[in-house]
């Protein structure tokens, strides 16, 4: 069924594409090194890449480094040109104007999440980076996952404390490249112990567990950025299809199905696989008021479960669902099944049978309706 998902872009989409490509050509390239704690080696990796690019003829400058750098980092720094931070305000910040005057091809900026002091043009350092990119200067930068704005409630729950500086997740999604700097937690326990001193639960085992959770968040976030970039790439090629690297569960609800169980199971399945949950209903004519109420409740439950909810239209529900599934790269389809078996079902293929036979590359999980179902 590979052609089902292929769609020609509309004129508006084409225009957007052209504009985006123009911006893309003048803009500097952004590469982000993402880590989950201090000490995994983000700065080192960033500076090492700067050094290699310089060795290959790139015009490279460093506009911000973090203090507490080790010997290895110092050695790398010694080989690179440095544009000093400006110090005329309350705290040091990137000297954006100096970098723009110098206009290197590549600028290295450590510690992306810093907040700029009062009186700066931009409130936050990531906005400085944005300004440099717009000016056509490429940037390598590094950030710790705990500083991603959207992840802060999660990170706070793990670390038991709050960080004030933050960068919006969309900034990462807009990066040309993102690279994860991974290391087992043992590499950063000492530093984490110092950083977290005073917060509850501070023995090595608890710290290791906390670090592991942050590490998992960083891995999944990177996977999501990669997934979205891959999707964009495929879409630019006119292929509305995914590779199934991310598990996506689609739950089909009807007024009769055991929807709340299906949605709960779908949510759990998606969580376990770090995947996404979708819920769809195919509208066919008017529903009795009781059915309508049940359906509304089910869709509310789906929204509460943070599912992508969609109401589909179509003569044929099976085709509508399968088209939706293909377009969204669904890997697991949850459908309900009533145990009724009419004489008609014995002659023509019933919807369930069609789901099983026609779902291409998608697993179909069947939930029985009724009292016994669990």
């Amino acid at each position: 069924m590979p052609n089902l998902g292929r769609q020609r872009p509309s004129p508006e989409q084409l225009l957007q594409q052209v504009e985006a490509e123009e911006r893309f050509q003048h803009r500097g390239k952004l590469k982000v090194f993402l880590g989950y704690a201090s000490g995994v080696g983000k700065s080192f990796r960033m500076l090492d890449e700067g050094r290699r690019r310089k060795a290959r003829g790139g015009d490279v400058v460093v506009a911000a480094v973090q203090h507490e750098a080790g010997d290895e980092v110092e050695q790398l720094l010694a080989q690179l040109e440095l544009i000093p931070l400006r110090t005329d305000l309350a705290s040091p910040s990137v000297d954006v104007e100096a970098v723009k005057r110098r206009k290197p091809s590549l600028c290295l900026i450590d510690g992306l999440a810093y907040r700029n002091p009062e009186g700066s043009k931009n409130a936050e350092r990531w906005q400085d980076v944005e300004e440099l990119l717009t000016a056509g200067i490429s940037v390598l930068t590094s950030i710790n996952v705990q500083y991603i704005r959207e992840l802060q409630p999660q990170v706070e729950a793990i670390r038991g404390k709050r960080v004030d500086d933050s960068v919006p997740e969309s900034f990462l999604h807009g990066a040309d490249e993102i690279e994860l700097v991974d290391a087992p937690p043992e590499y950063c326990i000492d530093r984490a112990q110092r950083a977290d001193s005073g917060s509850p639960g501070n023995d090595a085992l608890q710290i290791e567990q906390r670090l592991s959770q942050l590490r998992e968040i960083a891995l999944v976030l990177t996977a999501e950025v990669v997934d979205r970039q891959l999707e964009d790439y495929l879409r630019r090629q006119g292929i509305d299809q995914t590779y199934g690297a991310q598990e996506r569960v689609l739950v089909c609800v009807t007024p009769r199905s055991n929807a709340s169980l299906m949605i709960r199971r779908g949510r759990r399945q998606a969580d376990r696989f770090h995947g996404d949950l979708y819920v769809a209903y195919v509208e066919r004519g008017e529903l009795a008021s009781e059915d309508r109420r049940t359906l509304e409740n089910n869709l509310d439950a789906a929204r509460n479960a943070c599912a992508h909810v969609e109401i589909l239209h179509g003569e044929d529900p099976v085709t509508a669902i399968l088209r939706h599934a293909t377009q969204h790269g669904i890997t697991q389809l949850f459908v309900g099944h009533s145990l009724r078996d009419t004489w008609l079902d014995r002659i023509r293929p019933n919807p369930l049978e069609r789901f099983i036979l026609e779902a291409d590359g998608i697993d179909v999980r069947i939930f029985p309706h009724g009292e016994n179902a669990r």
Binding site: P2, K31, Q154, A157, D176, E177, I178, E179, L180, D182, A183, P184, P185, Q209, S212, Q213, E216, L219, V220, T222, A223, V226, D227, Q229, L230, Y233, L234, Y243, G244, A245, Q246, I263, R264, R267, R268, Q269, D271, R272, F273, H274, A301, A305, C306, D341, I347, P349, I356, L357, A359, D360, G361, I362, D363, V364, R365, I366, P368, G370, A373, R374
Partner: protein, 378 residues
């Protein structure tokens, strides 16, 4: 020499990548140096230089246990010398290319089996592999790359790793390396670019490696109770559902070729849901003698495959396949039955009622998952 205490198995660390050239071997050697500098007794058990200059330079200064030559069909092959490593008994041994298949004539057919021997002898091992080689991802990998990987690591072997580290590199950086001739010689690099080394393929593989590492970190240190609960998800501990039941997954084994993919998928889902998993086949009469020889061979192969993945298997007998399977499932508290997608019936009227549909009908209180085959993308 300072032999590790008997009985205490060595610690396994896997350095995971998503393609040749991302820097796994480099990372392994780098770790070797760091560990040696910390005063640990480190040897290189096997190192694959791939003709990469930087990597070869990094191997200098580390102690090597020489490889062992094995003759096969008049040609000379070199394999890791496991007996010599055991003799030397270092604290830590570096072993490149974990999924490698040994040449016939070696004691064990797989390098990972050699590594298990080292671990059992109390030697810590640092090894390297690519995500493509994980058994339960085999079908998804074929879907992404169009290639069926033959050298696989069973998931339970990966579970033995105390630690896993991902070597991440963006596909663009990897392609640059390929262009600069760092990864392969020019002719091989060109061929690689035409096949496997395409940006979307690499991106998808990278995503799989990231997700797998997240899962491995989660299953070692995380635990369900730490995850931020989403509003509608029930409080659950591992495979235990709110109603107290643990998910139990039953895989239906038949002689059909699609069964291998079914076993892998069922196994993977069980792993992620932390569920019990077992596999059964149904024979029409007593013993394997009740099926034709050809079918028997295929069935035994599938059962064997499931056992290799450490899935408990059972052979049932019953004339009515669907009923026997469902009765067994109900007796054993199964919550999900995994079936392979049935072939399209040629003539629906004449065909017996589809097995899958019969199982669905009979399993009124059990969920059924029909696993579709994953086909390679064009």
């Amino acid at each position: 020499m300072n032999p590790a205490p008997r009985g205490k198995p060595g610690r396994l660390k896997i350095i995971l990548g998503y393609a040749a050239g991302v820097g796994k071997t480099y990372k392994m050697l780098d770790e070797g140096h760091t560990l040696a500098a910390q005063g640990h007794d480190v040897v290189v058990g096997y190192f694959e230089p791939h003709g990469r200059k930087e990597t070869i330079a990094l191997a200098e200064g580390l102690e090597f246990v020489p490889r062992r030559a094995i003759e096969y069909r008049g040609r000379r092959f070199e394999e890791m010398d496991t007996p010599a490593i055991l003799q030397r008994h270092p604290e830590i041994c570096l072993v490149d290319e974990f999924p490698h298949t040994n040449v016939p004539g070696a004691e064990r057919s797989k390098r990972w089996e050699d590594v298990l021997v080292l671990l059992d002898a109390g030697v810590d091992v640092v090894t390297t592999m690519n995500i493509q080689h994980l058994e339960s991802l085999n079908d998804q990998m074929r879907e992404i790359t169009g290639v069926q990987v033959r050298e696989t690591i069973p998931d339970w072997v990966m579970k033995r790793a105390a630690e896993m580290v991902l070597v991440d590199l963006t596909p663009r950086a990897l392609l640059n390396r390929l262009d600069r001739g760092v990864v392969y010689a020019p002719d091989k690099a060109q061929r690689a670019k035409e096949n496997f080394f395409k940006e979307p393929t690499l991106a998808a593989l990278r995503e799989m490696a990231l997700r797998q590492t997240a899962h491995e970190v989660d299953s070692r240190h995380g635990g369900e109770n730490n995850r931020e609960p989403s509003v509608a998800s029930e409080p659950s501990q591992g495979g235990v559902m709110a109603d107290g039941a643990r998910e139990r997954i039953l895989i239906h084994i038949t002689e059909a070729p699609a069964t291998a993919a079914l076993i892998r998928r069922g196994h993977r889902v069980s792993d992620y849901l932390n569920a019990d998993c077992f596999a059964v086949c149904v024979l029409p009469g007593p013993g394997m003698g009740s099926v034709p020889a050809k079918t028997r061979g295929a069935l035994e192969q599938q059962l064997d495959f499931a056992r290799k993945l450490h899935i408990e298997t059972r052979i049932l007998e019953g004339e009515d396949e669907a009923r026997t399977l469902v009765d067994f499932a109900r007796r054993n508290g199964v919550t999900q039955i995994f079936l392979a997608k049935p072939p399209r019936p040629v003539l629906r009227f004449l065909s017996k009622r589809q097995l899958a549909m019969r199982i669905v009908r009979l399993a009124r209180d059990i969920q059924v998952t029909v696993v579709a085959e994953r086909r390679a993308r064009k």
